[in-house]
Subunit: 350 residues, 4 copies
């Protein structure tokens, strides 16, 4: 088939660059536009973008001219790596103008008629789009992907929740520096240091986790009712968010049963066949001292979550540790997987 033309909104930022890197070789999509802030509009991407990823700007993209983020974009799908303030204004306008908006911004994640999606976890929440169309009358649509840390937490909890019922979770996050964007955290602040209590982050993770683990009931999303307490920390790691958690279940499993549920987890059709979907969304490592962000973040091209150190908790039922690649599965790749799901489900047809 012909590739679908897509635009990257906010293409010069750190997440925007990830979109560019990932979409350069995508089997279904092809970049037709890059947008940027006032400072960069009209400039050649290679010249106005301070490329922070390893490797080079894909050569076929580097000479593209940056355009403004408006309704004249020559694209069917737009990937939004916009700052929240801008996303709040621009994303509805684009959906109103017929674009399929896959957003990585948090602006609309908590709206009742905007699906917040991890395909393997809750692709059925796409049913909210009917409500979205009804409420807003958009010819296009808006789908969001979750906070990077919530992504890792939820992908770990989902298989356990399905099998054993998650009742209560205490989680402590150790979040990589790239989660704060670029330039983000100064070396002088974070080298051989920990910065606790990232502003507003715990609430976001708690709320989004309950949405993602919620179920659809008569076309409405009913949030999960598990209890969650999250403490957050910024740590001197480049990429890869680590979460330590301890969990109380309705039907407590043994560590072995938990391993089986995690390893056996697969997304519903058509998710496993999507181009960016990992063969196994959750990997379990049995060695001691794993998972580790630097050694496990790149599993399955950064699309698999790795879980390990699973053991009984002296107070609740089970403790474990999980690692997710925050700028791949937890950001750009996650949004692209959402777009692939929308295409596979027929939402991208004209």
């Amino acid at each position: 088939m012909d590739k679908i033309p897509v635009a990257v909104l906010g293409a010069t930022g750190a997440v925007g660059q990830r979109f560019v890197q990932l979409l350069a070789d995508h089997p279904w999509f092809e970049i037709s536009a890059l947008t940027g802030s006032e400072r960069t509009v009209g400039g050649v991407y290679r010249e106005v973008c301070r490329w922070v990823l390893n490797g080079d700007i894909p050569p076929e993209i580097s000479e593209m001219v940056v355009s403004t983020t408006d309704a004249s974009l020559p694209a069917r799908i737009v990937f939004s790596a916009l700052p929240n303030r801008v996303a709040r204004q621009v994303e509805p306008t684009l959906a109103e103008n017929g674009y399929i908006v896959c957003s990585n911004a948090s602006a609309f994640r908590q709206e009742p008629d905007v699906p917040l999606i991890i395909p393997e976890v809750n692709s059925d929440h796409l049913a909210l789009l009917e409500q979205q169309r009804g409420n807003r009358g958009w010819p296009g649509l808006l789908v969001t992907s979750p906070n990077c840390t919530a992504t890792g937490l939820v992908m770990t909890l989902k298989p356990l929740h399905d099998a054993f019922g998650v009742a209560q979770v205490f989680a402590t996050t150790l979040q990589a520096v790239s989660g704060a964007g670029y330039p983000g955290v100064p070396y002088l602040d974070i080298i051989e240091n920990i910065i606790p209590d990232i502003h507003g982050e715990a609430e976001k993770i708690q709320d989004e986790t309950r949405l993602l683990l919620g179920r659809m009931d008569a076309g409405q999303r009913v949030a999960g009712d598990m209890e969650l307490s999250v403490q957050t920390n910024r740590v001197p790691v480049f990429d890869g968010h680590t979460v330590n958690m301890t969990i109380k279940f309705d039907r407590p499993p043994s560590p072995e049963e938990a391993v089986k549920a995690l390893s056996g987890f697969r997304g519903p059709d058509p998710v496993p066949g999507l181009p960016s979907a990992p063969a196994q969304p959750v990997l379990v490592r049995s060695e001691p001292n794993r998972p580790q962000p630097r050694r496990d973040r790149d599993a399955a091209a950064g699309m698999a979550v790795t879980v390990g150190s699973i053991q009984p908790c002296p107070i609740l039922d089970l403790r474990m540790v999980s690692v997710v690649h925050n700028t791949l599965r937890g950001a750009a790749s996650g949004s692209i997987l959402n777009a692939e799901l929308l295409v596979a489900e027929g939402y991208a047809k004209n």
Copy 2:
């Protein structure tokens, strides 16, 4: 008064070096002997010790000759920075030969007749020494200081426990590399990485915390009965252990009441007057994103624990973060403070 002659056992290791650095200028103690392993015995300290601390070996110590760890040491008090295996054999022998042994090793920390002491927290546990003398018939004595992470956790919990009753604690540790000794953790393992689930550490912290928060009853130590669940992580920080914790209380305080209890905490007499005792054992910082190990570990010469980010927990009562200097308060300085307490309480008289 004349200074009391003291020996440092295992003086060439990382903790041994801290003892040397701290004792070089001590108002009550003076180093009369340094011991080392077979490889270093007979050598000049400066030559056989690979000094890993910043600054230089104190000049008056650098030319001392390293001796064997045996009962001929010209000292009244001995500070043990021995590996556990060696400590298990040597420390009782020394106590049997009349030495006052202040040990930083974990070998005897859990023995019912060996005081495990943080002076501000449980100086009354020294009463176990009577039992120790009765059981073992030693003319000397053996007192231990706790695990470095337990030290920070307990100093945070103690004021809260006294005021509000600690019933349940979930804690996640972010432990500095120096906690693993020297050479310890390779750069290749820990740079921009997290290593979860330090072997055996969670159990040690849980057990020692209950001992330290225990009470004396008819000459016996009764461990605290709070529930504890600890998850541990090694993080790329040089010095300073950070603990994220959430706490359930018998009588839940507001954050302000917790701050008041923590800030107002003082050790019992004669602890506040000891040379190494900080004026205020627990500092509370009200700024966001504090405490941080690099910025707070050196508070009060590394002897104060710093607590911050105190806020309500959505499941239990209060969440907070605490930082302790693991090789000062949590190791060498802690043992020295114990020795000062023993002197002040009259145990060092002949």
Copy 3:
């Protein structure tokens, strides 16, 4: 004597904070004013200053109100930590209004009638102030301190130049992140990385080195004529600039003769008696693999340069390595030492 009132210009930046920290306990000076940018003027220092140094803001300073940088400052001496652009406008105005300006900015370092001073190296260049007064008619005066890397290089070369004549130097710098100010270099750019060729830095180091090693002739400064080639690198080090260098001499010394010249170096009177002057400006370490920035930067409160790894060069005469604390000797402390010299030489009298 009464302390001399001093102002810190640009007090909220990284170097400004160092001035505040160092002047809080100074025996001769007392802070009477802090200035800041428009954003901070009128605010309480504690509230408008994002303190990046370890430890706390000195309590007696933290409640001061930040004022504008103008000629109404209640001070005799002003320490400038201003950005160059601002320094270029403000510093002459202040000198014109009678202030003694000790500047850490580079704006006027290369002016022929503005002394660029390291007291131990070229206190005689203060004679340029006569020319400055003649040219500019200022009742006050302006003295500058050099680039942080040039400081370490020159303090290493000066004793060797006096004794053996430095003819040619190839130097490669490994510069700490704090040299780029705050927020400065993002973690994402510098962690486990090297950034070569710092913009404009090599030229500055080469030019200032020749000025500092120049001599006074009939009231004029004649720059040194040694050949210099400098390559620069930013490295993941917090504080402390390292320089690798190889040197050709007019009268080549042995390594031992070089050690003797370096260790024996002392500044001319009255420099050694100034409050901030180190007892020995250049320390030589004989161990292998020294000096190292983290282990040697704090020598003599960050005021001594440490040199080591001195050995024959297969092409020129001698190779060696030198470390300087870039924000102490190489910035704030260096300017304060200059001010002390001005006071001792009688320039601060009314």
Copy 4:
């Protein structure tokens, strides 16, 4: 063709692991044996090898049993990642027993009849093998690959030497931690620190550079006669050695001419067609502040050297900076490329 059976000697160390990782998918070679030290012999690779690379042990290798390093290895080519002491004994024995030994050890690098090879640079030095056979009577042969830093330096100098004649080089190295093997450098020694003057390294680099840039004359290798002065530093970088250098030429080029010579450099036939050979051995980056080890080490799968910051030197002719991946091009991949060259040149036939 059938794949050639190869053995990895010292397969459990850091370089040995790189060999395993790279050979797992090699088009010409297939791993038939892994050898290890006494401690690991007889064990399953997966169990006795502490895998330090990112990613997993290749599954088809992980269950192999580690064997002793002796003449019963079922292999035609052996890759040696042995420690020098062991290499000195074992490598000649293996060559004597008919094996083709491609060694990464330094034991025999300076022997006059042992080729020290970078295929693009001096494949003609393989002619020394005739001398080797004559001298030693081995049915097999021994070829070595150079020191990791020398590799980067020589690949930068070779195109320039061919075109303009390199007369003199001052080089300062900033070497990654992985160059010291595993466990190698402790975090406590190198974090935010620099360790200058790596023991014995400067001499090795100087000597090997002259050998590699030497020419064959009547079957003998004549070392290059350029003057070299190298200063070395260990820096907190994971992989990737950076070299700052300044060069004097017989026929000084402009920066542009140097860029052209570097970019246009290609190895002689059959090197460009070998499976592991990069399309362009030396890449030139024109952006400021490049090359950087973290951003450039992986260029061409770690096989290309990247050069940048090329500019006039105030004393000699040109300064520049070069980065090489020390454990790929500078170690395991370099040896594999040597083996490919030997195969292509017909040395691997029976």
